[in-house]
Amino acid sequence: MIRLENVSYSYPDGKPALSDIHMGIRKGEYIGIIGRNGSGKSTLALHLNGLLKPGKGKVMVKGMDTRDISRLQEIRKIVGIVFQNPETQFIGRTVEEDLAFGPENLCLPPEEIRRRVERVLAEIGLENYRYHSPKTLSGGQGQCAALAGTLTMEPECLVFDEVTSMLDPDSGKLVLKHVKKLHEKGKTIIYITHNLEELHDADRIIVMDRGRIVLEGEPENVLSNPFLLDLGLTPPSLMDLAERLKKHGVMIPWEKTSSPSSFAEEICRLFLKT
């Protein structure tokens, strides 16, 4: 669906942000991208729907080159981005107006815009906030409204750029719940974060450092890789605990590290067995 071919990008001051990135994203895949601050994650996200153009190499979205200005609108219909700060993503004065902004830019007829707004409001559970100013919503609701604003474009692929970093844990969970649901509905998800705890459900994880991909693989292998510590990334606490127990001969299967309750159940099961 999306293909990056030897993509390099430098900031206007000449500082390299991305170096020789080569990757492919399949339809329906859930990809986690991790890395510390300044590793190039957000710059990479901005390349995925043509907000930034590569200095070298190319980004292809369903066969369309992001450098081709005539295809940009079509590309943005396919790939939507939800940014970190919900406050600076709101364009409309009310939640309803904000949700209509994308479809209005696609020049859809008014009845189709209203249909999409209705559907997304119900899907994200924001019906009661329809006429509220998005700025009056709580952090979690605000980020859900920002997601809803992207969903009215009906994109096939959604890029989440550190969407939970400004939220409290409960609000973060609410946003993650929506991400999971969208993936179940067949959307392609690219989830950028530095909180590794959030990536248990990903199909594949890409680790970035200094503008390069340094590690790639299934969460099971990537999240337990000791190399993460060298990159300044903290592995998920349950996985770390499982690794420590493994050294003492206690084997906790990967799928049991997804939540404290499943982890505790497994420990109890092992304990009762002995």
Binding site: Q73, T88, F90, I91, F101, P103, E104, N105, L108, K135
Partner: protein, 257 residues
């Protein structure tokens, strides 16, 4: 929190359901009438017309009081300036002040005109959603050859919408910057001139960063500054034509007498 002046009050009254273009045209016409009317009878008729319209709006009186209150000092100043500095039949004398009959008439006329303008503007903004106003302005500007000036009506409408929705964020940012500087020992009351750069520099930096992020979010959602549709479908209904006809009739009568 106190509602801002000229804010929208949701409702479903006759005035609320009128097309924004009808209301914009009405405010313009009533504005012209207000400044053309010289007689007190005419000004009185405009006040009666305003009260008649208000009865169709279902809006509370506080909406209008809130619109006039901030300008009261200015209106009083104009009244007294006219009263004391217009030459004519002196009514009475206090010290060096000689209020005249013509001054009193001019003062009353000018003050009433300002109050009328504020009331009509408040009536429109309180009964029309801001996005509908910008949508109406966009539709009214669309036939004009704005592209010669390097803009188009869609861009102007988006700019207006963004300005309306970003003002509260700007005020919030000012407060946040003030608090951040105060927590580091800045005392704004002591030397306001010195504190301006301490407030302005981080504020401008923050606003530019916000604007950059907003531009990215807008572009990502397909904004190109070109033609776009709107969720609000503007169609002139029978009631709009009836209202405009009644308004024109009223204007003709006012200009005739």
């Amino acid at each position: 929190m106190q509602e801002p002046v000229f804010s929208y009050v949701p409702g479903d009254s006759f005035l609320h359901t009128l097309d924004p273009r009808t209301k914009l045209a009405a405010v313009m016409l009533l504005g012209i009438l207000t400044f053309r009317t010289e007689s007190f009878f005419g000004i009185g008729a405009l006040f009666v017309f305003f009260f008649a319209l208000t009865s169709f709006s279902g809006l509370p009186a506080r909406v209008f009081l809130r619109a006039v209150r901030p300008m009261m000092l200015f209106i009083i100043f104009i009244f007294f300036a006219q009263l004391f500095f217009t030459k004519g039949h002196v009514l009475t004398s206090f010290w060096i002040l000689h209020p005249s009959l013509e001054g009193l008439q001019n003062g009353l006329r000018l003050s009433a005109r300002f109050i009328l303008l504020l009331l009509f503007a408040a009536l429109m903004t309180a009964s029309t959603d801001p996005s509908a106003i910008t949508c109406g302005i966009e539709r009214m500007l669309r036939p004009l050859p704005l592209r010669w000036m390097g803009v188009n009506s869609f861009e102007l409408a988006t700019m207006m919408n963004l300005s309306i929705s970003f003002l509260p964020i700007l005020f919030e940012r000012v407060e946040r910057t003030k608090a951040a500087q105060a927590s580091r020992g800045m005392y704004f009351g002591k030397n306001p001139l010195r504190s301006v750069p301490a407030l302005a520099i981080p504020l401008i930096k923050g606003v530019i960063r916000d604007a950059e992020e907003l531009a990215l979010a807008m572009e990502s959602r397909g904004y190109q500054g070109t033609r776009r549709t709107s969720m609000h479908e503007l169609t002139m209904q029978r009631r709009d034509w009836i209202f405009l006809f009644a308004l024109i009739l009223f204007a003709a009568l006012m200009l005739r007498f």
